[in-house]
């Protein structure tokens, strides 16, 4: 990307540049509260975080929304510089992209109807129908694990609909999103059992750009150090402690 928008005020810490560099950010907007679209505005924890990091590094965010499946390919081709979409750091993905330091501690949790008494621990899912989002870690995990009937949907909302409509016994998805779902007026569902995985979200950065990775990590450190991170965390996740990265 090339620099644009000289009118944007730049208040960088260390770099003396006045011309902000454009950071092309890819995001998937169907992942509340990390990213969601409201009245045409993309908002969410991830979005505010990357903006904060970019500000620290004197970069200007150019946001581009795309399907989750398209994020890593877009990084590979250089369409975007970084992707924030609650992307779990995995060894598999590390072959294709770089990851920043973790910014959120997550894991997969199991969401079931409140009146469900048969599913209490992960092993209870055997023989049951589980709705997941196509291409997510839950999808990849169950694909390797026989005995679970997996239904894959393009949007997580479709997976939740499936649960509500009775087409699936459980939804397995990233814990914070499941929590958010309960919080946004759906009190007929609950989270059961321990997290299936302990995993971290990282900012995916395009390969062969060590400088950029360095900048992102540096910015993340600053944001954590100056309390911005804590403020944003409180704003989006309240007192729920599991996700916060200790710093």
């Amino acid at each position: 990307g090339c620099g644009t928008g000289s009118s944007t005020p730049s208040n960088s810490g260390q770099s003396g540049q006045t011309q902000p560099v454009t950071l092309h950010v890819g995001a998937d907007t169907t992942f509340p509260p990390f990213e969601t679209e409201k009245n045409g505005q993309v908002t969410g924890f991830d979005i505010d975080l990357i903006k904060a990091i970019a500000q620290k590094e004197n970069m200007q965010v150019d946001l581009k929304t795309m399907d989750f499946q398209g994020l890593i390919p877009a990084l590979q081709t250089g369409d975007i510089d970084v992707a924030v979409a609650g992307i779990t750091i995995t060894d598999d993905r590390k072959k294709s992209v770089n990851f920043s330091d973790p910014y959120y501690h997550s894991g997969l949790s199991i969401l079931v109807k409140k009146d469900n008494t048969t599913i209490n621990v992960p092993d209870d899912l055997t023989g049951k129908t589980v709705a997941v989002k196509l291409g997510t870690t839950a999808d990849l995990m169950f694909s390797k694990k026989p005995g679970v009937n997996v239904k894959r949907f393009t949007n997580i909302s479709d997976a939740y609909s499936e649960l509500q409509n009775g087409g699936a016994d459980a939804v397995v998805f990233d814990n914070p999103v499941n929590l958010n779902y309960i919080r946004t007026g759906h009190d007929n569902v609950k989270i059961v059992g321990p997290l299936l995985t302990g995993e971290d979200y990282g900012i995916a950065v395009r390969k062969n750009a060590p400088d950029l990775l360095q900048k992102i990590n540096d910015g993340l450190k600053q944001v954590m150090a100056d309390g911005t991170y804590d403020k944003l965390y409180q704003q989006y996740f309240g007192d729920e402690p599991n996700g916060k990265i200790k710093h």
């Binding site: 499946q69 709705a131 990849l140 894959r152 409509n165 009775g166």
Partner: protein, 224 residues
């Protein structure tokens, strides 16, 4: 190279997906033909109410995208009817086949209607003049003659249906497109897999097109 190897390794998955594609297409065309026959007769009937019903059916299902119909049936209807409870696991298959069949049925209605109307008026009158009831006239005289002319457009509609089946991917039916997506999210070889998928569709559809052209030619010979 690695990419094409990956395609080759996952080919059984794609072929299985193609199997589902053809299976759903067949369900949809068979059911759609039944629906098409019923609604075509409605549209041609003497009853104003039946005619209106036929028109509404055709207008709704040809006037909205199949994707919306699929979402409506699969995600919308279970909100008001306990369809998953009634049909269990089978509801996905049912909803997919039903959405597709209802959609194709609307197009087939118009194919059958046109086929019936293409039968010479003299045939209708001759059938009436020997005292046939409306049912007998349709069953023994008009439909057998209309049917022959409907075959080529029906084969074309079958081709359309095969392509439409790809939309069932959105409700987790692992037909060809969804099968490819599942492989691509682990391999990332989008270009190669989509090429392979396109080739599979092309083969099936070009074969059917040839069949349709052959039938059309045979029909013209018959009508000399």
């Amino acid at each position: 190279m690695e990419a094409w190897q990956s395609v080759f390794q996952n080919s059984s998955m794609l072929i299985k997906g193609l199997g589902y594609t053809l299976e759903y297409s067949l369900y949809a065309v068979v059911l759609g033909t039944v629906l098409g026959l019923i609604f075509a007769l409605f549209r041609l009937s003497g009853s104003r109410i039946l005619r209106a019903l036929g028109t509404v059916y055709v207008d709704i299902f040809r006037g909205t995208p199949l994707l919306v119909q699929i979402f409506f049936i699969y995600f919308g209807l279970p909100q008001v009817l306990p369809l998953h409870q009634w049909f269990g696991e089978f509801y996905t298959v049912l909803a997919g086949a039903a959405a597709l069949a209802l959609n194709e049925g609307a197009y087939i209605t118009e194919i059958i209607r046109a086929g019936i109307l293409s039968v010479d008026k003299g045939q209708w009158e001759a059938a009436e003049s020997i005292g046939m009831t409306s049912y007998q006239k349709m069953r023994y005289i008009i439909l057998p003659q209309a049917f022959k002319r409907m075959i080529p457009p029906l084969v074309n509609q079958f081709i359309q249906t095969i392509k439409d089946t790809s939309l069932l991917s959105v409700i987790s039916i692992t037909e060809l497109v969804r099968a490819a997506q599942i492989v691509i999210v682990t391999t990332y070889f989008a270009l190669q897999f989509w090429t392979a998928v396109a080739v599979l569709y092309l083969i099936v559809i070009l074969l059917l097109t040839k069949l349709s052209q052959y039938l059309e030619r045979r029909l013209q010979v018959d009508q000399r």
